[in-house]
C-alpha cells in the first residue's frame, strides 16, 4: 500500500493553498496598523469635540474625514506598500457611505417608532375621527377609518392589476406573440410613470368627466396603474422558472394551450404569483399623491367604494402633518408607524417567499 495515487489529505491541502492569498495575509503588523488607523483619528476627533465648541458636523467633515483618510493611507503604506494607499482611502469612504445610508435608515425608523409608539393604542387603530376636533386629546379618535380605507383601495386595485399583470406576463412567456418586445418595453415605460401623473390621469378621465366621483374606486384605479408593471415584471420572472418539461408534458397528454397555462403553469408558479401580488401591494400602499387627487378626505368610516370620499393612511398623514395642533401632528406620526408596520410586514413576507426555492 505504498503507492497511493489518490490521497484525500493532499487534495484538501491543495485546495487550501489555492484559497490563500499570501499577499493579503492578515499579519500581526497589519492588524496593529488597522487598529491604530481606526483609534487615533477617533481619539483626536473626540478630544476636539470635548475641548472646543466647534460645531460637531464641521469637526466630522473637516477634521475627522481627512485624518481618517490619511491614517488609512499611512497604515496601508506601512504594511502593504504605497500602491495600496489609495485602496485604504476607498475602503474608508466606502464604509463611510455605508454608515451614512444606514444612519439615515435607522434615523427614519427610530423617529417613527419613538414618536409613534406614545400615540398607538387600541382606540387609535380602531376608532375614526368623527366628532373629533384637532384639539381633542389623543385618547379619543384614531385612524380606524383610514386603515379600512387603505385596505379597501389596495384590495380593489389588486383585483384590477394582478390579473392584468399576470396576463401580461403570460403573454410574454406563454403566448409569445410577435409583440413581446414591445409589450416589455411598454411595461418598463409604465413603471416610470410618476404617481402624481397616474392620479392626474384618473382625475381627467373619470372624475372631471363625471363618470366616477372621488371615491375608493377612483383611487384604486390610480393605484392599479402603479401596481401593474411591478406585478407583470415579477410574474414574468416567475413564469420563466417553470420547467419547460411541464408544458411539453401537458401538451403531449393532449391538453389545449389554455389548459396548460391555467391548470399547469400558473398552479406551478402559485407562490411566485402571490409574491408578485404582494410586491405590487407593497409598491402602492404608501403612495400619497394619487390619493390626494382621486379619493378626497373624510373623518368617518366609509365602506362604500363607489360614491363617497374616503380616507386612507397616506392621505391621513399628509393632512394631519400640515395641522398647527401638536396633537394632530402626533396622530400623523402614529399613522406613519402603522403604515410603516404594514410596509415592513409586506416587505418581510416577500423576502421570505422569494428566498425559498422557486416554483414550490
Amino acid at each position: 500500500m505504498t503507492t497511493i495515487i489518490f490521497d484525500e489529505t493532499r487534495v484538501t491541502t491543495l485546495q487550501q493553498q489555492t484559497a490563500q492569498k499570501p499577499w493579503a495575509a492578515k499579519t500581526g503588523k497589519w492588524k496593529a496598523a488597522v487598529v491604530l488607523a481606526v483609534i487615533i483619528p477617533l481619539a483626536i476627533t473626540l478630544a476636539l469635540m470635548f475641548a472646543t465648541d466647534l460645531p460637531k458636523a464641521l469637526i466630522m467633515v473637516v477634521i475627522y474625514l481627512p485624518i481618517q483618510l490619511i491614517a488609512g493611507a499611512l497604515a496601508a503604506t506601512a504594511t502593504r506598500g504605497r500602491k495600496n494607499a489609495l485602496d485604504a482611502m476607498i475602503i474608508v469612504v466606502a464604509i463611510g457611505a455605508t454608515i451614512l445610508s444606514l444612519v439615515v435608515l435607522v434615523s427614519v425608523v427610530w423617529a417613527i417608532i419613538a414618536k409613534g409608539i406614545p400615540v398607538l393604542s387600541g382606540a387609535f387603530v380602531s376608532q375614526n375621527m368623527t366628532y373629533i376636533s384637532p384639539a381633542t386629546p389623543l385618547g379619543y379618535g384614531g385612524i380606524g377609518h383610514a386603515v379600512i380605507g387603505t385596505v379597501l383601495i389596495v384590495l380593489i386595485s389588486a383585483v384590477i392589476a394582478v390579473p392584468l399583470g399576470v396576463a401580461t406576463a403570460v403573454y410574454i412567456t406563454e403566448v409569445r406573440g410577435k409583440a413581446v418586445p414591445y409589450v416589455r418595453f411598454f411595461v418598463q415605460a409604465m413603471s416610470g410613470v410618476p404617481s402624481v401623473v397616474a392620479g392626474l390621469f384618473i382625475l381627467t378621465v373619470f372624475i372631471l368627466t363625471g363618470v366616477l366621483q372621488t371615491s375608493a374606486f377612483a383611487g384604486a384605479l390610480a393605484y392599479a396603474i402603479l401596481m401593474l408593471p411591478t406585478v407583470a415584471r415579477t410574474a414574468e420572472e416567475v413564469l420563466k422558472l417553470v420547467p419547460e418539461d411541464l408544458r411539453t408534458g401537458a401538451l403531449a397528454l393532449g391538453s389545449t394551450r389554455a389548459r396548460v397555462v391555467l391548470q399547469v403553469v400558473l398552479p406551478a408558479a402559485k407562490t411566485g404569483i402571490i409574491t408578485a401580488a404582494i410586491l405590487g401591494l407593497a409598491r402602492v400602499v404608501g403612495e400619497t399623491a394619487p390619493l390626494l387627487l382621486t379619493v378626497g378626505f373624510t373623518d368617518k368610516t366609509v365602506v362604500n367604494p363607489l360614491t363617497e370620499p374616503i380616507s386612507a393612511l397616506p392621505s391621513f398623514i399628509f393632512t394631519y402633518v400640515s395641522s398647527p395642533y401638536p396633537d394632530a401632528v402626533a396622530r400623523a406620526w402614529g399613522a406613519a408607524l402603522v403604515l410603516m408596520i404594514l410596509v415592513t410586514v409586506l416587505f418581510v413576507v416577500t423576502r421570505i417567499l422569494t428566498s425559498r426555492r422557486p416554483g414550490r
Binding site: P55, L86, D87, I90, I91, I95, G96, A97, L100, S101, L102, V104, L105, S107, V108, A111, P163, L164, A167, T168, Y171, I172, V175, G177, K178, V183, F186, Q188, A189, G192, V193, P194, S195, V196, V197, L200, F201, T204, V205, L228, A232, T256, R257, A258, V285, G286, E287, T288, A289, L292, P314, I317, F318, V321, A336, L339, M340, V343, L346, R351
Partner: protein
C-alpha cells in the same frame, strides 16, 4: 380571411386548432396591451388638456414665471418649476451617485457575505419606505440638521455664489435635494450593486494576479465593465427624483420665480409638487387645466428619462449575458 392569416402569424409555437385556445390567446393578448393603452391614454388625455393651455399662453407657459389667476387675461408660466425640478435632481444626483457607487463597492467587494446580505436587505427596505413617511421625517428630523449644515456652508463658503443666502435656510432646494438623494440611493444602489456583482470573477482574479490594487481593479475592470448598467441605474433614479411629489412638498418652499442656482435660498420649484400643492385650491377650471398641462410636461420628461435609462440597461444586459 384576414383573421385566419393573423392567427397563423400569431401562433407559431403550436397550431391552435382548439377554439378555446384562440379565445384564450385573444384575451391574454388584449390584457397584455393594457400598458400601451394606459400610456397612450395619459398622453392623449393630459395632452388634450395641455393643448388649449399652450394655445392660450403660448411659449411663455414654459419660459416665464408669471402666475396670476385673477389677471386679465390670467397668465401662467412654469419655468421656475421646470428649472426647479432639474436643479433638485442635480443636487440629488451629486449626493446620491457617489454614495450609491461607494455603497455598492462596499457590498460587492469589501463586506463579508452575511454582512453584505443583511445590508442589501436593509437598503432595499429603505426603498420601500413610503415617500410621505420620508417627508414627515425630513420635515421634523432632517430639516433642522440640514439647516445647520446650510448655515455652516454659507458661513465658510458663502463667498461662492452657489452658497449665497437670503437669510433663511428653511425650505431650500438644498434640503429637498438631500431628501431626493435619500430616495434615489436605494434605487441606484440596487442596480449598480447587481452590475458590479456581475463582473466576471476571472477578470478580477486576472487583475489581481497582475498585481493590481483594488482601486486599479475597479478603475480598469469593474467600472468599465458595468458602465452602461451604472449609467442606466443613475437615470432610473433620476426619473424617480423628477416625479417625486410628496416628500419634496414637506421641505421645499414653492416659489414661482426661477431659483437658478442659489441652493441655500429659501424657495425653489418642482413641477410634481406644484400640482399637489395647487390642485386643492385651484381657482376655476383654467388653473386646473394649467396644472394638468404641467402634469403633461412632467410625464413627458420622466418618460423620456426612463425610456433612455431602460434602453441603456437593456443593451448592457444583453452584451453581458
Amino acid at each position: 380571411m384576414s383573421v385566419a392569416t393573423e392567427e397563423k402569424r400569431d401562433l407559431t409555437a403550436a397550431a391552435l386548432s382548439h377554439r378555446g385556445d384562440r379565445v384564450f390567446n385573444r384575451i391574454i393578448t388584449g390584457c397584455a396591451f393594457t400598458a400601451l393603452v394606459v400610456l397612450a391614454g395619459i398622453t392623449v388625455f393630459l395632452g388634450f388638456q395641455a393643448f388649449p393651455v399652450l394655445q392660450d399662453q403660448g411659449i411663455s407657459f414654459v419660459t416665464t414665471t408669471a402666475w396670476d389667476s385673477f389677471g386679465t387675461p390670467p397668465v401662467y408660466g412654469i419655468a421656475g418649476m421646470l428649472w426647479g425640478s432639474l436643479l433638485l435632481s442635480v443636487i440629488a444626483l451629486v449626493i446620491a451617485v457617489p454614495v450609491s457607487l461607494l455603497l455598492s463597492i462596499f457590498l460587492v467587494f469589501l463586506a463579508p457575505k452575511p454582512v453584505s446580505k443583511i445590508f442589501t436587505n436593509l437598503i432595499d427596505l429603505m426603498a420601500a419606505i413610503p415617500s410621505v413617511i420620508i417627508g414627515l421625517w425630513a420635515l421634523y428630523i432632517l430639516q433642522p440638521t440640514s439647516v445647520e449644515w446650510a448655515t455652516l456652508l454659507n458661513k465658510y463658503l458663502g463667498w461662492i455664489p452657489l452658497f449665497d443666502s437670503n437669510g433663511n435656510f428653511i425650505g431650500s432646494p438644498f434640503t429637498a435635494g438631500i431628501v431626493l438623494a435619500i430616495m434615489m440611493i436605494p434605487i441606484v444602489t440596487s442596480v449598480t450593486r447587481e452590475v458590479l456583482g456581475r463582473t466576471p470573477p476571472d477578470l478580477i482574479n486576472a487583475s489581481e494576479a497582475l498585481g493590481c490594487s483594488m482601486w486599479t481593479m475597479l478603475r480598469y475592470v469593474a467600472l468599465p465593465y458595468g458602465r452602461g448598467g451604472i449609467v442606466g441605474g443613475i437615470m432610473l433614479g433620476l426619473g424617480r427624483a423628477l416625479g417625486e411629489t410628496i416628500a419634496v412638498f414637506f421641505v421645499l418652499k414653492l416659489v414661482y420665480d426661477v431659483n437658478w442656482f442659489h441652493i441655500l435660498y429659501s424657495g425653489g420649484g418642482s413641477v410634481a409638487t406644484l400640482i399637489v400643492a395647487k390642485f386643492g385650491d385651484a381657482s376655476g377650471s383654467l388653473e386646473q387645466q394649467v396644472l394638468l398641462a404641467a402634469g403633461f410636461f412632467l410625464f413627458a420628461m420622466t418618460l423620456i428619462v426612463n425610456v433612455i435609462a431602460n434602453l441603456i440597461v437593456a443593451r448592457t444586459g444583453r452584451v453581458k449575458s
